[in-house]
């Protein structure tokens, strides 16, 4: 019975992670606008190219007439003519009005198949005067459409393709919380019973959790470099994560410094209970009370929409379960190894 259960969860974690890797890399990204050239405009008729990334928003057979581009200045809309279209770009002709409420223009591209694509601050008009957009230049918004984008990941400005990292970086931390929680329970039990069995469980949990914590830090740092522009930013969430990993490294230092002292189990257990309380405070409580670049907190709209995106959710939840199970598997291997070592040394 126990054997078949082992087969079930270990095989299940491998299957889940295979599904996550395949789905995570093969699911297309929804289209999003990334640039407008030229972005500096002057008051005159001119041609602008808008470029998109992600899956194509048009096919080569589509006609420019079925697409519509509107520029927004403040709360007013400016008319444009779509002159050419390719799967990833659209060329528009604009008659730039002499007066407008704001010189910074946002672009809206209305497509029949992919819905509305938005680019904030797409263009800047250097020589426009402040005022209302004259009626002959203004536009009205087309009817909103309900596009069917199929199974695809949402487009986020700046994050773009790297939204797939959600399936790698975030589950590292979930797995770490899970296994450190297990270590916390083991340390509490160790303090009650003072048995070597619980001590070995706590040690195996902390060592496995640290692997995942370090991987979370390294992957987060790489991701930060290409979204925020720096390997590390001084941010409550990031620094909290670093301090947590350092605290747990202290646990290992404490153990090796104590050597074969009989009190090592109890001391390490006290330290581990303290470290887990700090983990909860540093990673779950404190970042909620401060401003943070890191998503998942109040005050940062960056990733709020992924919470609602069913495609991403359908891969993210299996990823959390799969990585968690793999982490537990690594923990059991380490625990069995430690038991063998203890058995050998105490003979």
């Amino acid at each position: 019975m126990k054997g078949s259960w082992n087969w079930f969860w270990k095989g299940g974690s491998v299957l889940l992670l295979t599904y996550v890797v395949v789905r995570g890399f093969c699911t297309p990204l929804q289209p999003g606008l990334v640039s407008a050239t030229p972005s500096q405009l002057s008051v005159a008729p001119q041609v602008v190219d808008l470029v998109a990334v992600g899956q194509p928003f048009a096919t080569s057979e589509d006609l420019p007439a079925s697409f519509d581009v509107v520029l927004r200045s403040g709360d007013q809309l400016i008319r444009t003519d779509v002159v050419a279209i390719t799967p990833h770009s659209v060329r528009i002709q604009i008659d730039v009005p002499p007066t407008m409420p704001s010189r910074a223009l946002d672009a809206y591209l209305f497509t029949p198949a992919s819905g509305t694509l938005f680019l904030g601050n797409a263009c800047f008009v250097e020589d426009a005067a402040k005022g209302d957009v004259p009626p002959e230049f203004s536009a009205s918004a087309p009817d909103p459409q309900e596009p069917d984008l199929g199974f695809s990941f949402p487009y986020q400005p700046n994050i773009m393709e790297s939204i797939r990292n959600l399936l790698w970086h975030v589950p590292m931390w979930f797995a770490m919380f899970f296994i450190m929680g297990l270590g916390f329970v083991a340390s509490l039990a160790q303090l009650r019973t003072d048995s070597i069995g619980w001590d070995m469980r706590a040690e195996a949990a902390v060592k496995t959790g640290l692997v995942f914590g370090l991987l979370g830090l390294a992957t987060g740092s790489l991701w930060a470099r290409w979204t925020w522009g720096a390997w590390w930013v001084s941010d409550p969430q990031l620094n909290g994560a670093l301090v947590t990993v350092l605290l747990y490294s202290g646990y290992l230092v404490l153990r090796s410094a104590m050597g074969d002292d009989d009190r090592v189990g109890r001391l390490a257990a006290v330290y581990n209970v303290f470290a887990f309380v700090m983990l909860v405070i540093l990673l779950m409580v404190l970042p909620r009370y401060t401003e943070s670049l890191h998503p998942g907190k109040d005050g940062n709209p960056g990733f709020n929409s992924y919470d609602l995106d069913n495609s991403l959710r359908a891969v993210f939840y299996p990823a959390v379960i799969g990585w968690g199970a793999l982490c537990y598997w690594m923990y059991t291997l380490r625990l069995r190894m430690n038991r063998c070592a203890h058995h050998l040394l105490s003979r």
């Binding site: 790297s162 692997v211 991987l215 992957t219 190894m337 050998l344």
Partner: protein, 57 residues
Amino acid sequence: MNALLLLNSLEGFFFGSGKAHVVTGVALIILAGIAVSLWRMDRRLSQLEKESRSDKS
């Protein structure tokens, strides 16, 4: 924009195709990390095996 990015090959590699390579980098870090952790356990187990063999003899 792409021509500018290609001046710096690392920037070009990660930004070039809409940041898809950042995901590759992250995936490789994780696989490498898990591999290193398994390799270290493997080494410790080999050591234990050796000790148990020398105990028997």
